[in-house]
């Protein structure tokens, strides 16, 4: 987060954020202590992890669970807890 911030003359008024979906540019992946690792062979594609992930970080490819988006996954462990077949392990992040 080293970009220079705009001053009052250049900022949109009223606190408006003109660009939709800009939270994508904010990499919450750096907040992680534990990292979810998915064993896709165990996975039964029930997509409960996708429903419960608070950060929209379950990647879906062709309608199937395809691991996590590590740029944004905060490592909360909700997916691992909800998974009915224990396909997700939380591993200590190597820093």
């Amino acid at each position: 987060m080293t970009e220079t911030k705009k001053g009052w003359k250049d900022l949109p008024i009223g606190g408006n954020i003109l660009e939709a979906g800009n939270s994508q540019h904010y990499f919450t992946g750096t907040w992680r202590t534990y990292k979810p690792i998915t064993d896709l062979d165990k996975c039964i594609n029930c997509l409960q992890c996708w429903m419960f992930c608070p950060d929209n970080s379950i990647v879906i490819k062709d309608g199937k669970m395809d691991g996590q988006d590590y740029d944004h996954c905060k490592g909360c462990g909700v997916c691992a807890a909800i998974c009915p077949v224990k396909a997700i392990d939380m591993i200590k992040e190597e820093k």
């Binding site: 009052w8 606190g15 408006n16």
Partner: protein, 391 residues
């Protein structure tokens, strides 16, 4: 020009709203604002406007619905008084900080307690730092004209700030007077199509009202601060156009018989009609007195007052509200505006008419006498007191 019709002050506000034909009005009735909401809902029921009228369950919701509508890009309005304004407090600030050009008819009423339903300015004065433009009006014609002009001022791209159009509860809101309205076509032509972009009308959707923390909030406040500084330039432009189109000339500060005056009485709203009447009779006795009526309290016309007031030897400021433990608002801000000016006049303040107490001619005559004493001897300079209170 048109012809006079009989309208109360409340009806004058509703009539102007009708001719503006806003997209959304959300209001909750409260004495003495009730006839504004009542009359306007009648226009809605009769199909005289295209407005979506939202019947809400409180003033907090009234202002919330108005904010939502304005954010979506609608011309949105509401009306309130006293405790109603107090209840919408939180959202009043949100409206201005989101820079939504909402118009609100404020029928000034004492902010309790003990409970009182009559006219004083404690409601609007409490909201003086809320970031809204505040226009004060002496009579029903002014209420009407201010409403039309306020829309142009609030929606101006340099301003984009909501505005309160104030009038005295009961004293004008419930008094029938001659009002000369414009035609619907004149009003529509004058206000034009709305120019500001809301959420839904924008080509690209965007986020409004997000969390705004230490890293940006300060800049957004500075923007509000700067927008307020631009208001009077826009006001001058709009007033001139109004005068040119319709022959009614308004100014930021109205002066009455000030040409050769050495003393003046200053105040807001309906009491100034009484002051002018007393000025006339004092003039007949050879007293060189005039009246000065700021039409705006926010923004506060500092530069105008710094230019104008040094022409006089002594000034009395009438406040229809108290600021307990401090100087009353109009008095204190006038004092502050004059600080350090060479030839600043002597100045004395009176708190009058709280809770709708009639500020009658005899009381103002006492003020005139004391003002002459102030001019001649300096007695009472830099003091303020209650006018006509029982001991």
């Amino acid at each position: 020009m048109g012809k006079y019709i009989a309208l109360t002050g409340a009806e004058s506000a509703a009539f102007a709203m009708k001719q503006i034909n806003p997209d959304v009005v959300a209001a909750y009735p409260i004495t003495p604002q009730t006839p504004v909401a009542m009359k306007f809902s009648e226009y809605v029921a009769n199909g005289e406007v295209n407005t979506e009228y939202v019947t809400v369950e409180s003033e907090h919701s009234a202002m919330s619905a108005t904010v939502g509508a304005a954010a979506a890009g609608a011309r949105a309005m509401t009306a309130t008084a006293s405790n109603g304004l107090a209840l919408m407090w939180e959202i009043v600030y949100i409206a201005s900080s989101m820079r939504l050009p909402i118009l609100m008819a404020v029928v000034n009423r004492a902010l309790s307690g003990p409970i009182n339903i009559h006219g004083d300015h404690s409601d609007a004065m409490g909201a003086r730092d809320s970031g809204w433009i505040q226009i004060f009006n002496e009579n029903n014609q002014e209420v009407y004209d201010s409403f039309i002009m306020a829309l142009r001022i609030a929606e101006h791209p340099d301003v984009l700030t909501p505005a309160m159009v104030c009038q005295d509860g009961f004293i004008t809101s419930h008094s029938v007077e001659n009002v000369m309205p414009l035609t619907n076509e004149q009003v529509q032509k004058f206000i034009g199509k709305k120019k500001f972009k809301g959420l839904i009308t924008a080509d690209k959707p965007f986020t409004m009202g997000p969390l705004d923390l230490q890293d940006y909030y300060f800049e957004h406040k500075k923007q509000q601060h700067e927008a307020m500084k631009k208001v009077f330039a826009v006001v001058e432009e709009v007033q001139n156009e109004y005068a040119k189109e319709f022959g009614r000339k308004y100014s930021v500060i109205e002066e009455y018989r000030t040409e050769d005056a050495d003393t003046i009485i200053m105040g807001l709203n309906s009491v100034m009609g009484n002051v002018k009447t007393v000025v006339d009779s004092a003039r007949e006795k050879g007293i060189k007195i005039g009246a000065v009526k700021p039409r705006f309290f926010r923004p506060f016309p500092v530069d105008y007052l710094r230019d104008l007031l040094p022409k006089f030897k002594a000034v009395v400021v009438l406040d229809r509200s108290d600021s307990f433990g401090a100087m009353p608002p109009l008095y204190s801000e006038t004092l502050a505006a004059l600080y350090g000016i060479e030839n600043a006049p002597m100045i004395k303040g009176y708190i009058h008419g709280l809770g709708g107490r009639d500020t009658n001619l005899a009381m103002i005559e006492t003020v005139v006498d004391n003002l002459q004493k102030l001019k001649d001897t300096g007695e009472g300079n830099l003091t303020f007191e209650y006018l006509g209170v029982r001991e």
